[in-house]
């Protein structure tokens, strides 16, 4: 720190080289994009995009169809996230329990979900189970997504719990804590800190996988995009915009978790 007292950043040779390499790469990619769109003969009309996101009316700002779709996507992923983590935690605890039945049930759920495509599960729940159980479109979508992501989350939870040193269990038990309290106060608070990064990855997957609900005619971000394209043929502009919106959501998610991770870090 002392050597760089006067300048907040003194570039080193390797850093200059790194930046140069990065700029060359970006230049090459841009060139490639321009050439390929020339070759396509595509007529870019980016100026038509903003009104699908947000437009002003005499009464004030109005959400465009893409942002309305985004709200649906956020609602579905938000509810699914909570459910998926509950399913995941329950399944993880079942797999670690001493009861054979609980272990087998958890195992069966896990294998069934992980070895079939999400799209098939979604159709199965919506078309087959839905009418029987009397659940609607939105509920089917949430159920399918949370069952799917829950199976993966359970493996993360399990790994997090198993990774806690045996001595922590023994210390808690020897103090007379029962299993529930041991999980709640000793094991899980430590596990959660360890599994935040992979769990974030799972949440990001959930956001992206939610695009599949457009197949059962839910008006989420992806569905809205498809509809606009059908009307306007702005294929590339809309898809890039939709992808950009997903990117913003997942990045906000990652940054939030990053922040939480730093706040929760155990001092050592």
């Amino acid at each position: 720190m002392n050597a760089t007292k006067n300048a907040w950043w003194v570039p080193r040779r390797t850093q200059v080289l790194d930046v140069a390499k990065f700029l060359i790469l970006v230049g090459l990619l841009t060139g490639l994009m321009i050439r390929s769109s020339d070759a396509l003969g595509y007529h870019w009309q980016w100026y038509r995009i903003p009104r699908y996101i947000l437009f002003s009316e005499p009464g004030g700002w109005v959400l465009g169809p893409l942002l309305e779709g985004l709200l649906v996507t956020l609602r579905i992923t938000g509810i699914s996230l909570v459910l998926a983590f509950s399913f995941g935690m329950t399944t993880a605890l079942c797999r670690l329990s001493s009861s054979l039945v609980a272990r087998m049930l958890a195992r069966g759920y896990l294998e069934a979900i992980r070895n079939t495509p999400l799209l098939v599960q979604l159709f199965f729940i919506y078309f087959v189970a839905g009418p029987v159980l009397g659940v609607g479109r939105f509920a089917s979508a949430v159920l399918a997504l949370s069952l799917f992501e829950g199976a993966y989350a359970s493996e993360i939870f399990r790994a997090g719990i198993v990774s806690i040193h045996r001595g922590q269990w023994e210390a808690a038990y020897s103090l007379g804590l029962n299993m529930l309290d041991t999980y709640r106060y000793v094991i899980l608070p430590q596990s959660v800190r360890r599994i935040l990064p992979p769990l974030t990855g799972q949440a990001v997957s959930l956001v992206k996988d939610s695009a599949l609900v457009s197949t059962i005619a839910i008006y989420d971000l992806t569905m809205r995009g498809q509809m606009i394209i059908a009307e306007t043929f702005l294929t590339f502009e809309i898809w890039f915009t939709v992808a950009g919106i997903y990117l913003v959501i997942t990045m906000v998610l990652s940054f939030t978790v990053n922040f939480m991770e730093n706040r929760l870090r155990i001092e050592a």
Binding site: Q168, E170, Y173, Y185, I266
Partner: protein, 254 residues
């Protein structure tokens, strides 16, 4: 096996261990027909080579390990398959581990408060009061709000002792409490243990610290391969061992 004068006498025995056998899933017989009785207020030291079953014995006393056959009774509560008994016994028995096992995500204060609040159902205020008294006793008051990661090994072990004492146990088990410590920190932990012994706490101590054994123990058991090989008072044990294995062990460590 020498018959012990202590075992014959009548007295207020708090731990009864009768013909206990423990075989680990890998086939190792950790305890073999092990019997002993421990008096209230006694300091019992257990020595022996590693793998002789000393730690297993302690872990069986508070139900961390199941026994295969035999009987263990602590303070009138038989240790059986019932979960309730197991929890009852653990309330009465404090344990201190070689590797401290403090909860790293809690401060010293929270570490010691947790079981008082969840198991003894004390209010935060009452628990904190007890905790601060105990921290004073082990000389750690100024570290009440530190996390275990910021403490030295000796300090962590003193906190661990305070944490076990906070449950007001009738018996304290020490499983090689000083074996993981740097030499300069062993003294501070032994001091705390000696204070406890002088206050009349019933203690079962697995240790390699023969100085400690000589100073405070009432009765020493030498174990090997899961069996009680020899036992006796400190004077008898260190100056006049009868068994060859005991002599060999003592010549190696003294």
């Amino acid at each position: 096996m020498t018959t012990s004068p202590v075992d014959k006498e009548e007295g207020d025995f708090i731990i009864h261990i009768e013909k206990v056998n423990k075989i680990y899933p890998n086939g190792v017989q950790a305890l073999c027909d092990f019997s002993t009785r421990i008096r209230r207020g006694e300091v019992r030291v257990i020595v022996g080579p590693s793998g002789s079953g000393k730690s297993t014995l302690l872990r069986c006393i508070n139900g961390l390990e199941r026994i295969d056959t035999g009987r263990i009774v602590v303070d009138g509560i038989p240790l059986d398959e019932s979960k309730k008994n197991r929890l009852e016994i653990r309330k009465e028995v404090g344990m201190v581990f070689q590797s401290f096992n403090l909860f790293p995500h809690m401060t010293v204060l929270e570490n010691i408060n947790l079981a008082q609040r969840r198991v003894r159902k004390k209010t935060r205020k009452a628990a904190t009061e007890t905790t601060m008294d105990l921290l004073k006793k082990v000389g750690m008051v100024d570290k009440a709000h530190s996390y275990p990661g910021h403490l030295s090994g000796g300090q962590q072990q003193r906190v661990a002792i305070a944490r076990a004492l906070a449950m007001m146990p009738a018996v304290m088990l020490f499983d090689e409490a000083t074996s993981a410590l740097d030499p300069e920190m062993i003294g501070e932990v032994l001091e705390v243990m000696k204070t406890l012994a002088k206050e009349g706490m019933t203690m079962v101590v697995v240790t390699h610290e023969m100085g400690f054994a000589k100073e405070v123990s009432d009765w020493v058991i030498f174990m090997d391969e899961g069996r009680k090989i020899e036992e006796g008072t400190v004077e008898h044990f260190f100056s006049d061992p009868k068994e060859d294995r005991t002599k060999r062990f003592l010549s190696q460590i003294l």
